[in-house]
Symmetry: C2
Subunit: 153 residues, 2 copies
Protein backbone atom coordinates (compact mmCIF):
# COMPACT_ATOMS: atom_id res chain seq x y z
CA UNK A 1 0.00 0.00 0.00
CA UNK A 2 1.41 3.41 -0.95
CA UNK A 3 2.17 5.84 1.84
CA UNK A 4 0.51 9.19 2.43
CA UNK A 5 3.74 10.79 1.31
CA UNK A 6 3.45 9.06 -2.06
CA UNK A 7 -0.22 9.92 -2.33
CA UNK A 8 0.51 13.58 -1.57
CA UNK A 9 3.39 13.55 -4.03
CA UNK A 10 1.20 12.18 -6.81
CA UNK A 11 -1.56 14.68 -6.03
CA UNK A 12 0.94 17.53 -6.23
CA UNK A 13 2.46 16.18 -9.44
CA UNK A 14 -0.92 15.95 -11.14
CA UNK A 15 -1.89 19.40 -9.91
CA UNK A 16 1.33 20.82 -11.36
CA UNK A 17 0.69 18.92 -14.57
CA UNK A 18 -2.72 20.59 -14.88
CA UNK A 19 -0.97 23.95 -14.69
CA UNK A 20 1.87 22.95 -16.95
CA UNK A 21 3.31 25.93 -18.79
CA UNK A 22 1.72 28.47 -16.47
CA UNK A 23 4.85 29.25 -14.47
CA UNK A 24 6.00 28.28 -10.97
CA UNK A 25 3.38 27.36 -8.40
CA UNK A 26 4.03 28.27 -4.79
CA UNK A 27 4.16 25.52 -2.21
CA UNK A 28 1.58 27.25 -0.05
CA UNK A 29 -0.92 27.44 -2.90
CA UNK A 30 -0.44 23.80 -3.83
CA UNK A 31 -0.79 22.73 -0.22
CA UNK A 32 -4.01 24.65 0.18
CA UNK A 33 -5.55 23.45 -3.07
CA UNK A 34 -4.73 19.81 -2.45
CA UNK A 35 -5.28 19.71 1.32
CA UNK A 36 -1.69 18.75 2.12
CA UNK A 37 0.28 20.03 5.15
CA UNK A 38 2.58 22.72 3.76
CA UNK A 39 5.82 21.79 5.54
CA UNK A 40 5.34 18.14 4.69
CA UNK A 41 4.73 19.09 1.05
CA UNK A 42 7.98 21.11 1.07
CA UNK A 43 9.91 17.95 1.82
CA UNK A 44 8.03 15.93 -0.77
CA UNK A 45 8.47 18.49 -3.54
CA UNK A 46 12.16 18.86 -2.76
CA UNK A 47 12.53 15.10 -3.03
CA UNK A 48 10.83 15.13 -6.46
CA UNK A 49 12.98 18.07 -7.54
CA UNK A 50 16.17 16.33 -6.49
CA UNK A 51 15.07 13.34 -8.52
CA UNK A 52 14.68 15.51 -11.59
CA UNK A 53 10.91 15.25 -11.91
CA UNK A 54 10.26 18.82 -10.77
CA UNK A 55 12.09 22.11 -11.09
CA UNK A 56 11.92 25.10 -8.80
CA UNK A 57 12.70 28.76 -8.58
CA UNK A 58 13.43 30.63 -5.41
CA UNK A 59 12.48 34.20 -4.60
CA UNK A 60 9.68 36.38 -5.82
CA UNK A 61 7.57 34.68 -8.44
CA UNK A 62 9.18 31.45 -7.33
CA UNK A 63 7.66 28.04 -6.85
CA UNK A 64 7.61 24.59 -8.36
CA UNK A 65 6.93 23.34 -11.88
CA UNK A 66 7.29 20.15 -13.93
CA UNK A 67 10.81 19.55 -15.22
CA UNK A 68 9.41 17.73 -18.26
CA UNK A 69 6.30 17.54 -20.37
CA UNK A 70 3.51 15.61 -18.55
CA UNK A 71 3.50 13.13 -21.43
CA UNK A 72 7.10 12.31 -20.61
CA UNK A 73 6.72 11.71 -16.90
CA UNK A 74 5.48 8.26 -15.97
CA UNK A 75 3.60 7.29 -12.87
CA UNK A 76 6.19 4.57 -12.39
CA UNK A 77 9.06 7.02 -12.14
CA UNK A 78 7.18 9.15 -9.64
CA UNK A 79 6.17 6.22 -7.46
CA UNK A 80 9.73 4.88 -7.45
CA UNK A 81 11.06 8.22 -6.29
CA UNK A 82 8.43 8.57 -3.60
CA UNK A 83 8.06 4.98 -2.36
CA UNK A 84 11.52 3.69 -3.21
CA UNK A 85 10.44 0.82 -5.43
CA UNK A 86 7.46 -0.75 -7.17
CA UNK A 87 8.55 -4.22 -6.14
CA UNK A 88 6.54 -6.13 -3.53
CA UNK A 89 9.75 -7.72 -2.22
CA UNK A 90 13.31 -6.30 -2.32
CA UNK A 91 14.70 -9.31 -4.19
CA UNK A 92 12.67 -8.58 -7.32
CA UNK A 93 13.34 -4.87 -7.41
CA UNK A 94 15.18 -3.70 -10.50
CA UNK A 95 16.00 -0.31 -9.07
CA UNK A 96 16.45 -1.08 -5.38
CA UNK A 97 17.48 -4.74 -5.37
CA UNK A 98 18.30 -6.45 -2.08
CA UNK A 99 18.86 -10.13 -1.48
CA UNK A 100 16.70 -11.77 1.19
CA UNK A 101 18.77 -12.46 4.27
CA UNK A 102 17.19 -15.86 4.90
CA UNK A 103 17.07 -17.06 1.31
CA UNK A 104 19.29 -19.97 0.26
CA UNK A 105 18.40 -20.14 -3.38
CA UNK A 106 16.82 -17.15 -5.05
CA UNK A 107 16.40 -18.85 -8.37
CA UNK A 108 13.97 -21.40 -7.01
CA UNK A 109 12.20 -19.36 -4.37
CA UNK A 110 8.51 -19.68 -5.12
CA UNK A 111 7.56 -16.44 -3.44
CA UNK A 112 10.17 -14.58 -5.45
CA UNK A 113 8.97 -16.10 -8.73
CA UNK A 114 5.41 -15.00 -8.05
CA UNK A 115 6.37 -11.58 -6.79
CA UNK A 116 8.45 -11.02 -9.89
CA UNK A 117 5.28 -11.48 -11.94
CA UNK A 118 3.53 -8.99 -9.66
CA UNK A 119 6.38 -6.47 -10.00
CA UNK A 120 6.36 -6.86 -13.77
CA UNK A 121 2.61 -6.35 -13.96
CA UNK A 122 2.72 -3.26 -11.76
CA UNK A 123 5.67 -1.82 -13.67
CA UNK A 124 3.95 -2.58 -16.97
CA UNK A 125 1.04 -0.42 -15.94
CA UNK A 126 2.79 2.41 -14.13
CA UNK A 127 5.73 2.72 -16.53
CA UNK A 128 3.36 2.90 -19.46
CA UNK A 129 1.08 5.49 -17.90
CA UNK A 130 2.17 9.09 -18.22
CA UNK A 131 1.06 11.89 -15.97
CA UNK A 132 -0.69 13.38 -19.00
CA UNK A 133 -2.71 10.22 -19.58
CA UNK A 134 -3.84 10.24 -15.98
CA UNK A 135 -5.14 13.78 -16.39
CA UNK A 136 -6.98 12.80 -19.56
CA UNK A 137 -8.58 9.79 -17.89
CA UNK A 138 -9.57 11.87 -14.92
CA UNK A 139 -11.03 14.56 -17.14
CA UNK A 140 -12.92 12.01 -19.26
CA UNK A 141 -14.34 10.39 -16.14
CA UNK A 142 -15.51 13.78 -14.89
CA UNK A 143 -17.19 14.58 -18.22
CA UNK A 144 -18.82 11.17 -18.28
CA UNK A 145 -20.24 11.75 -14.82
CA UNK A 146 -21.44 15.18 -15.84
CA UNK A 147 -23.24 13.69 -18.86
CA UNK A 148 -24.95 11.18 -16.62
CA UNK A 149 -26.08 13.97 -14.34
CA UNK A 150 -27.30 16.06 -17.30
CA UNK A 151 -29.14 13.07 -18.70
CA UNK A 152 -30.85 12.42 -15.36
CA UNK A 153 -32.37 15.85 -15.15
Amino acid sequence: MISKKTKYGLLALLALARKYGAGPVQIGDLAEQEGIPKKFLELILLHLKNAGILGSRKGKGGGYFLAKDPAQITMGSAVRVLDGTLAPVPCVSETAYQKCTECDDEESCGIRLVMKDVRDAVANILDNTSVKEVLVRSSDAAKKAKKVIDYSI
Copy 2:
Protein backbone atom coordinates in the same frame (compact mmCIF):
# COMPACT_ATOMS: atom_id res chain seq x y z
CA MET B 1 6.06 -3.85 -0.25
CA ILE B 2 4.95 -6.86 1.74
CA SER B 3 5.86 -6.99 5.40
CA LYS B 4 8.13 -9.54 7.08
CA LYS B 5 5.02 -10.97 8.69
CA THR B 6 3.54 -11.67 5.26
CA LYS B 7 6.81 -13.06 3.99
CA TYR B 8 7.08 -15.38 6.99
CA GLY B 9 3.45 -16.40 6.59
CA LEU B 10 3.95 -17.31 2.94
CA LEU B 11 7.13 -19.23 3.73
CA ALA B 12 5.27 -21.21 6.39
CA LEU B 13 2.31 -21.82 4.10
CA LEU B 14 4.52 -23.18 1.33
CA ALA B 15 6.48 -25.31 3.77
CA LEU B 16 3.22 -26.82 5.06
CA ALA B 17 2.07 -27.33 1.47
CA ARG B 18 5.21 -29.36 0.74
CA LYS B 19 4.31 -31.62 3.66
CA TYR B 20 0.63 -31.74 2.80
CA GLY B 21 -0.95 -34.97 3.97
CA ALA B 22 1.89 -35.85 6.32
CA GLY B 23 0.16 -34.78 9.52
CA PRO B 24 0.49 -31.76 11.80
CA VAL B 25 3.80 -29.90 11.84
CA GLN B 26 4.93 -28.35 15.10
CA ILE B 27 5.50 -24.64 15.26
CA GLY B 28 9.01 -25.11 16.59
CA ASP B 29 10.01 -27.33 13.66
CA LEU B 30 8.58 -24.92 11.09
CA ALA B 31 10.30 -21.98 12.75
CA GLU B 32 13.63 -23.73 12.72
CA GLN B 33 13.36 -24.96 9.14
CA GLU B 34 12.32 -21.59 7.77
CA GLY B 35 14.43 -19.35 10.02
CA ILE B 36 11.46 -17.58 11.57
CA PRO B 37 11.25 -16.49 15.22
CA LYS B 38 9.06 -19.09 16.90
CA LYS B 39 6.83 -16.84 19.01
CA PHE B 40 6.26 -14.53 16.07
CA LEU B 41 5.37 -17.53 13.89
CA GLU B 42 2.85 -18.63 16.52
CA LEU B 43 0.95 -15.39 16.01
CA ILE B 44 1.15 -15.64 12.25
CA LEU B 45 -0.03 -19.24 12.08
CA LEU B 46 -2.88 -18.50 14.45
CA HIS B 47 -3.93 -15.66 12.20
CA LEU B 48 -3.94 -17.96 9.18
CA LYS B 49 -5.82 -20.59 11.12
CA ASN B 50 -8.48 -18.11 12.22
CA ALA B 51 -8.86 -17.13 8.60
CA GLY B 52 -9.51 -20.74 7.62
CA ILE B 53 -6.37 -21.30 5.60
CA LEU B 54 -4.72 -23.52 8.20
CA GLY B 55 -5.94 -26.03 10.76
CA SER B 56 -4.29 -27.07 14.00
CA ARG B 57 -4.30 -29.73 16.66
CA LYS B 58 -3.22 -29.21 20.25
CA GLY B 59 -1.41 -31.67 22.45
CA LYS B 60 0.84 -34.58 21.69
CA GLY B 61 1.29 -35.09 17.98
CA GLY B 62 -0.19 -31.62 17.53
CA GLY B 63 0.79 -28.88 15.16
CA TYR B 64 -0.38 -27.05 12.07
CA PHE B 65 -1.55 -28.26 8.67
CA LEU B 66 -3.28 -26.92 5.57
CA ALA B 67 -7.04 -26.68 5.91
CA LYS B 68 -7.46 -27.27 2.16
CA ASP B 69 -5.67 -28.86 -0.74
CA PRO B 70 -2.72 -26.66 -1.90
CA ALA B 71 -4.39 -26.42 -5.30
CA GLN B 72 -7.33 -24.72 -3.65
CA ILE B 73 -5.45 -22.10 -1.68
CA THR B 74 -4.49 -18.99 -3.66
CA MET B 75 -1.61 -16.68 -2.97
CA GLY B 76 -4.13 -13.86 -3.13
CA SER B 77 -6.17 -15.19 -0.25
CA ALA B 78 -3.06 -15.67 1.88
CA VAL B 79 -1.68 -12.21 1.15
CA ARG B 80 -5.04 -10.61 1.94
CA VAL B 81 -5.16 -12.35 5.29
CA LEU B 82 -1.60 -11.43 6.14
CA ASP B 83 -1.31 -7.93 4.68
CA GLY B 84 -4.92 -6.87 4.86
CA THR B 85 -5.41 -6.08 1.20
CA LEU B 86 -3.80 -6.35 -2.22
CA ALA B 87 -4.84 -2.82 -3.11
CA PRO B 88 -2.21 -0.08 -3.36
CA VAL B 89 -4.72 2.46 -2.03
CA PRO B 90 -7.68 1.85 0.31
CA CYS B 91 -10.21 3.34 -2.11
CA VAL B 92 -9.70 0.59 -4.68
CA SER B 93 -9.74 -2.28 -2.24
CA GLU B 94 -12.54 -4.77 -2.79
CA THR B 95 -12.09 -6.45 0.56
CA ALA B 96 -10.99 -3.57 2.77
CA TYR B 97 -12.46 -0.51 1.05
CA GLN B 98 -12.00 2.93 2.62
CA LYS B 99 -12.80 6.27 1.06
CA CYS B 100 -9.97 8.82 0.93
CA THR B 101 -10.53 11.52 3.50
CA GLU B 102 -9.42 14.33 1.20
CA CYS B 103 -11.06 13.11 -1.97
CA ASP B 104 -13.94 15.12 -3.42
CA ASP B 105 -14.82 12.97 -6.37
CA GLU B 106 -13.68 9.36 -6.42
CA GLU B 107 -15.06 8.64 -9.85
CA SER B 108 -12.70 11.08 -11.52
CA CYS B 109 -9.67 10.75 -9.30
CA GLY B 110 -6.77 9.98 -11.63
CA ILE B 111 -4.68 8.28 -8.99
CA ARG B 112 -7.58 6.03 -8.08
CA LEU B 113 -8.23 5.09 -11.72
CA VAL B 114 -4.61 4.06 -12.19
CA MET B 115 -4.35 2.26 -8.87
CA LYS B 116 -7.49 0.30 -9.70
CA ASP B 117 -5.66 -1.06 -12.76
CA VAL B 118 -2.72 -1.94 -10.51
CA ARG B 119 -4.99 -3.67 -7.99
CA ASP B 120 -6.70 -5.63 -10.76
CA ALA B 121 -3.39 -6.74 -12.23
CA VAL B 122 -2.03 -7.84 -8.87
CA ALA B 123 -5.26 -9.64 -8.01
CA ASN B 124 -5.30 -11.27 -11.43
CA ILE B 125 -1.93 -12.82 -10.73
CA LEU B 126 -2.25 -13.71 -7.06
CA ASP B 127 -5.85 -14.92 -7.20
CA ASN B 128 -5.02 -17.17 -10.13
CA THR B 129 -1.91 -18.65 -8.55
CA SER B 130 -2.43 -21.51 -6.15
CA VAL B 131 -0.02 -22.55 -3.48
CA LYS B 132 0.43 -25.80 -5.38
CA GLU B 133 1.46 -23.97 -8.53
CA VAL B 134 4.04 -22.01 -6.60
CA LEU B 135 5.58 -25.25 -5.36
CA VAL B 136 5.65 -26.65 -8.88
CA ARG B 137 7.32 -23.51 -10.27
CA SER B 138 9.85 -23.55 -7.45
CA SER B 139 10.58 -27.22 -8.00
CA ASP B 140 10.91 -26.76 -11.76
CA ALA B 141 13.27 -23.84 -11.27
CA ALA B 142 15.41 -25.93 -8.92
CA LYS B 143 15.56 -28.82 -11.43
CA LYS B 144 16.42 -26.43 -14.21
CA ALA B 145 19.29 -25.01 -12.15
CA LYS B 146 20.47 -28.51 -11.34
CA LYS B 147 20.51 -29.46 -15.04
CA VAL B 148 22.56 -26.39 -15.80
CA ILE B 149 25.02 -27.39 -13.11
CA ASP B 150 25.15 -31.01 -14.34
CA TYR B 151 25.70 -29.83 -17.89
CA SER B 152 28.57 -27.58 -16.80
CA ILE B 153 30.54 -30.42 -15.29
